[in-house]
Amino acid sequence: MATATTAPSGARRRTWRQLPVVQQLRQSVGLQRGMLVAGLVLTGVFVLTAVLAPLLAPYEYGQLRDADGPFGAQQSPSGDHLLGTTVGGYDVLSRVIWGSRTALYVIVVAVLMSIVIGVLLGLVSGYFGGWLDRVLVVIADAIYAFPSLLLAIIVAIVISGGQSSLWGGILAAAISITVVFIPQYFRVIRAETVRIKSEAFVESARVIGASNWRIMLRHVLRNATRTLPLILTLNASEAILTLAGLGFLGFGIEPTSGAEWGFDLNRSIADVSSGIWWTSLFPGLGIVLVVLGLTLVGESLNDLADPRLRTRRRVSAQDAPVGLAEVAVVPGGTLGAADGLDGLEHGGGAR
């Protein structure tokens, strides 16, 4: 079933078109395409800002003074400081820009680690089964049900004892987020593995005498990854929120060693009461825009993969869309249409 989409198509242009996001972009129409494009643009701007932070930011993240002397605390936005300065005397604009870099580091490290570990565990657990599988499932379920930020707090305490340097803080945040995310990848990959391992092609590979590892990596994993881009984007946005939450509770990166939006927001609570809006508004907007961008991408991928939610091209438009992804597996149990069997067989309700 799942193999049909990965059939050898030969021509290189076809394979390019089958890349996860590209494929969906071509498949989408109207509003859904708009949402996907908007999400991609926001995400792109975020990544560019993070990469080009040294060029874009007028000052360093920890800079308190320039040639003309100290910046001064809580200065309202002006020509020198477009977005004002914080209570600690930092330039808000610079810290917002540098903050995107910290966020990107954390996303990349956290998502990579949790994918590698989660996928590996899910594969092994689903493929071999047995008591290891049962134990892992119970553990994953327990962690999954647990408030993620609380777990992240505990891990952050363990790793850094609270505050730390830029990379220490990034690693602490990333590892805490990883621990929370592993169960999600684990669950999805395990479910897929259990399903795929009973397929005929796995059976035949075993008959030929392929080793377990070869079957797992070549035959099972390749067919189990179709929901990964979706979980990845959703997790990336959750990573930002967890990082910000940690920072907000004071587990951030010290302002002298890096900029982090949540930490800056924490420092601005008192400002708000006295009507100082610029110290909280801009770091907050940074978080919202990045999460919005990533979520729009993830959400669009989800809708496009679910035939009930996909807006179809008007029937008149050229040939019928062939080779669409099959029914979605909504990841990690998020907002899934719990038992949508009644809806499924009537795919889309034709409107």
């Binding site: 949402m35 049900a145 408030p147 505990i154 363990v158 004892g161 939450g245 909280s280 978080i287 907002l335």
Partner: protein, 366 residues
């Protein structure tokens, strides 16, 4: 999975005998489901408590973390020995498990209170906030989700979906700060922080047999001013936390209503000439609401996290606010205790939600 237990009688009340055997094999009745689900609470709690314990202890003993550098080395050592942190880790672990089984989650270092006492003092505030937030979430999320599904792919739908994503994308503390900026500072309509003004607090304190839930206490005073003050303080935190969940509800209801609207029985009802309004209310909306009950279970964890952050933003003196305080003072016994307690609460509420879901929707029982 559920076949192991002693539940041969459930399901056999049905008149036909042939399918009974098949049904039992595929998962038994409500009774065995509930039993298995109940037993699952214990490994969940056990795993979480164990994880938290070993993680926290891997950083060293809590006394050094809280007081290190502030006490001379010999006094520090004395206190470590008094508290038993010099013993082998495993025997500490057994003690800890034994304590939890007796309902003892430890004593905080910074203010020397029992963690369970912290819970009873501050838990009510968190409970109150969470309930308000759930009400906001229901009032906002469900009707808007139904509207979005009905107007599918038209402008209101697009706007509502963006709204839902924004609800999710905005961290509760940022939403809280924005609400404060607009409604408290700029417009001056609502108080900036706290659960009540000082005068109300004093008035409530005089009440004997306080429940700790300010709304109930305020009602009991019979004083309109007090009630109004309590409600005014609750609006912004409730909205900030409620919108987070409202976004989730909105998306869920939308997806499900789209599903039911396209389903066969709605088509059938329409072809029988059932009016559009009745069609929506009775046929499309109702079954779409069932999954919400399941999702509430998952939302409890999210709401608790949200409550921790919201309470810090609004100085709402609840469990989350207290947790943040203990974090600041590096009182890790308190942190560990509160987190373990919350784990128990989450596990138990998840169980209750699952039971309700199973009672309402037979398909849930596996």
């Amino acid at each position: 999975m559920t076949t192991t237990t002693t539940e041969p009688t459930t399901g056999s009340t049905e008149p036909e005998t042939a399918p009974v055997r098949r049904r039992r094999r595929s998962g038994g009745g409500l009774g065995s489901y509930l039993l298995v689900r109940f037993l699952l609470i214990f490994p969940t709690i056990f795993i979480l408590v164990t994880t938290v314990f070993f993680l926290m202890r891997s950083t060293g003993d809590p006394i050094t973390a809280a007081l290190g550098g502030r006490l001379p080395a010999d006094q520090l050592q004395e206190r470590i020995e008094a508290a038993g942190y010099d013993r082998p880790l495993f025997s500490q672990y057994l003690d800890y498990l034994g304590g939890i089984a007796r309902g003892d989650f430890g004593t905080t270092i910074s203010d020397n209170r029992e963690v369970t006492e912290v819970l009873t003092t501050f838990g009510t505030a968190t409970l109150e906030l969470t309930v308000y937030a759930l009400i906001v979430a229901f009032l906002v999320g469900i009707p808007l989700g139904q509207l979005a599904a009905y107007m599918r792919d038209r402008l209101p739908d697009a706007a509502l979906r963006i709204f839902a994503i924004l609800c999710y994308a905005t961290p509760v503390f940022f939403a809280g700060l924005l609400l404060k900026l607009v409604f408290s500072v700029q417009l001056g309509w609502l108080p900036v922080a706290g659960r009540a003004s000082t005068r109300t607090e004093i008035e409530l304190q005089q009440l004997d047999g306080q429940t700790g839930i300010y709304l109930i206490d305020a009602l009991r005073t019979g004083n309109g001013e007090v009630l109004r003050d309590v409600l005014e303080h609750a609006v912004l935190p409730a909205v900030a936390l409620g919108l987070l969940t409202a976004g989730v509800f909105l998306r869920l209801v939308r997806t499900n209503v789209i599903g039911t609207l396209g389903s066969g029985y709605v088509e059938a009802a329409r072809s029988r000439g059932v009016g559009e309004y009745r069609l929506l209310r009775k046929h499309a909306y109702r079954p779409a609401l069932i999954p919400i009950i399941t999702v509430i279970g998952m939302q409890i964890a999210m709401l608790l996290v949200g409550a921790v952050l919201t309470e810090t933003t609004f100085e709402w003196k609840g469990l989350g606010f207290q947790l943040a305080e203990y974090l600041q003072s590096r009182d890790f016994v308190a942190v560990q205790g509160i987190v373990a307690l919350l784990a128990v609460i989450v596990a138990v509420t998840n169980f209750i939600v699952d039971v309700i879901a199973a009672l309402i929707d037979p398909r849930v029982r596996y």
